[in-house]
Symmetry: C2
Subunit: 375 residues, 2 copies
């Protein structure tokens, strides 16, 4: 199998892979916890089929593309953003499907980090006499599935921390008053951000201060959703860290019946409503957060979002467990008495957390900044 | 005289005015305290001369453009970003120069808000039988000279507050440690920001914490400066607010011999070095800051920059005297013990300061945001 050296790929190969990457992106909300994957099939430099992994539990990208191509796949090339699977999961192995369809060549962006695949798909194809070229636009393919890759490689989900702040870095007044710092466009953008995550982690303080639901409100999206999106959307699991079990079941958060993990040390209620599950997480400090994330990964959570106050945000950052910080910055100054972004008790510049700005865009009157944290 | 209705201007007019605006911008650093003005002269839809106000005390834009056009100006059109002056200043009236050159038509972006001109230039031209059209790209022309216009209309300079902060809105550690929050590109950008200002206001705390010079270091600019820029550059006046006269003359700030205003209530030294001038400003609270800005305007300062700590920054903001906030945001988290952007003692969201984001750009690894404050 030839790998990465760009010289082995043509401009046409690049164009087709770019097309497959855009297709993969359509799986942003519904493929989880599977990876987002796209596939294009060509015959004599013409597209004869394309597809993506639309909904978890349903056909993979390759199968959808092969279905569209029909007999035209025979002797053709398949462009796929992730190595075709070699194992029997909820659907049959895609490598087998490609072999059966008679394709001549498979071009892949990246190897599948899933230990059940991890080169096994490539091997199956090559054993069947199919030419395999991998490494085309590997970084772009990886960017589609940062959480899936992290879970496969490190048994931990990708952790995003989202904060809405004023230009002077404040999340709430000293009284707790915080509605609304950012404008309606930013709040709608947060709905889309939530929708790509498998879980949303929060703390009891946020429940007390904001009384939020922390669900995805699909009916509030500006762009209309497809019937498929509406029918198959799975609400992220809402994870409440409440070690002393002091949260109040009458709050908005508990009324919605999408799943909740109640993470605490105490059994304070004999019988919880069926949508609320009690999770025991052992350890203290960074250990506790590490163990929580391990449980998340064991439940196939690829990407988890933290929406919490400065205390919990600071604890996750200090434990070195935040991969990405998403800041919505409102054009306001809230003043020095207001609540900080994160309770990080640093005394010297050398303690400060280094980040890298990876995205900046305007959302209504607010700015949305994305930073990668170097842990 | 016809004014504004866009219908009276052709695409060619617009193209020429855009060219004049770009020329005007070249006066950014050296025209002050005069306005930045550009001029293009055309004859039969061909450019025959162009110029801008290069250096305070030297020829105005119209004179430079007429000089280049020579006899070809006769019967031509002059495009100028600001109404030609009608009064004898350091140079003769530009309206007279245009009349003498025999131009047929003058197209202007905006009327001169200077009470010594204010329509007088237009009147002189029209009395001489020259057709005058004003209002083309008036906003763009005004954006070149926000401080000059403010000073002419309100007898106050435009006030910019510049802060270098972390992503969590912090300007220094609690110890005062703050070097370096932002990277070298942002610090160089600050040099260019300083260079367009007539004065830089600071407080004693900044001198104590940072020991800065607060001058423009022309030799550190990435892009080479012209000989003219180097020869004619006037350092901004450094204005130190030190009411108790506690600052220490051995600090870096005082060693540089570009002019300093020492603003305080006390005469604590019999004899100051010649570059340091003692300024008395009366009043307390907002009155004091208002009176300081009036003195700045009386000394023909169009734009003043505040580079200070959170206390002085907060006082200017609370007095409603900051027009523009320029934030350099470093990709760092400095934590909740660190110093705030501005000491604004707000308790409720409704007290927060509203702003409007007008510019966002990346400068090295940092972001530069510009906000207009609504006072």
């Amino acid at each position: 199998m030839s790998n990465n050296s760009m010289a082995s790929f043509s401009a046409f190969d690049a164009e087709m892979m770019a097309r497959a990457l855009r297709l993969a992106e359509r799986g942003l909300y519904l493929a989880r916890p599977n990876p987002r994957v796209g596939c294009v099939i060509t015959q004599n430099d013409q597209v004869v089929g394309e597809g993506y992994h639309q909904v978890f539990g349903q056909a993979h990208a390759e199968v959808n593309a092969l279905k569209q191509a029909g007999s035209k796949a025979s002797g053709g090339t398949a462009y796929v953003t992730l190595e075709p699977c070699a194992h029997q999961g909820k659907t049959g192995p895609c490598a087998t499907a490609l072999i059966n369809a008679g394709v001549n060549r498979v071009v892949c962006a990246m190897r599948d980090p899933n230990p059940k695949v991890d080169g096994g798909g490539f091997a199956m194809l090559q054993e069947a006499g199919i030419s395999v070229d991998s490494g085309l636009m590997a970084q772009q393919a990886a960017d589609l599935n940062p959480g899936f890759i992290k879970r496969m490689q490190q048994q931990r989900p990708l952790v995003r921390l989202k904060m809405a702040i004023s230009a002077d870095g404040r999340t709430a007044m000293a009284s707790g008053e915080s509605q609304w710092i950012t404008g309606p466009d930013a709040r709608q953008d947060v709905q889309r951000l939530r929708a790509r995550h498998d879980a949303i982690i929060t703390g009891r303080g946020t429940l007390v201060n904001d009384n939020p639901s922390l669900n995805v409100r699909l009916d509030e999206w500006a762009e209309p959703l497809t019937e498929q999106q509406l029918a198959h959307f799975k609400q992220p699991v809402r994870v409440l860290i409440d070690r002393q079990a002091k949260a109040n079941l009458t709050q908005q958060f508990f009324k919605l019946t999408s799943p909740i993990w109640w993470v605490g040390d105490k059994d304070y209620l004999d019988r919880l409503p069926p949508h609320i599950e009690r999770k025991k997480v052992v350890g203290n400090g960074a250990d506790f957060f590490n163990n929580l994330l391990k449980q998340c990964a064991a439940h196939q959570f690829n990407e988890v979002l933290i929406e919490a106050g400065s205390k919990l945000a600071g604890q996750f950052i200090q434990a070195g467990l935040v991969d990405e910080l998403v800041l919505y910055i409102a054009p306001k100054l809230m003043g020095a008495n207001a609540m900080p972004l994160a309770a990080l008790p640093f005394d010297a510049m050398e303690q400060s957390v280094s980040m890298q700005l990876t995205d900046c865009r305007q959302v209504g009157d607010d700015l949305k900044l994305t930073y990668q944290l170097s842990n």
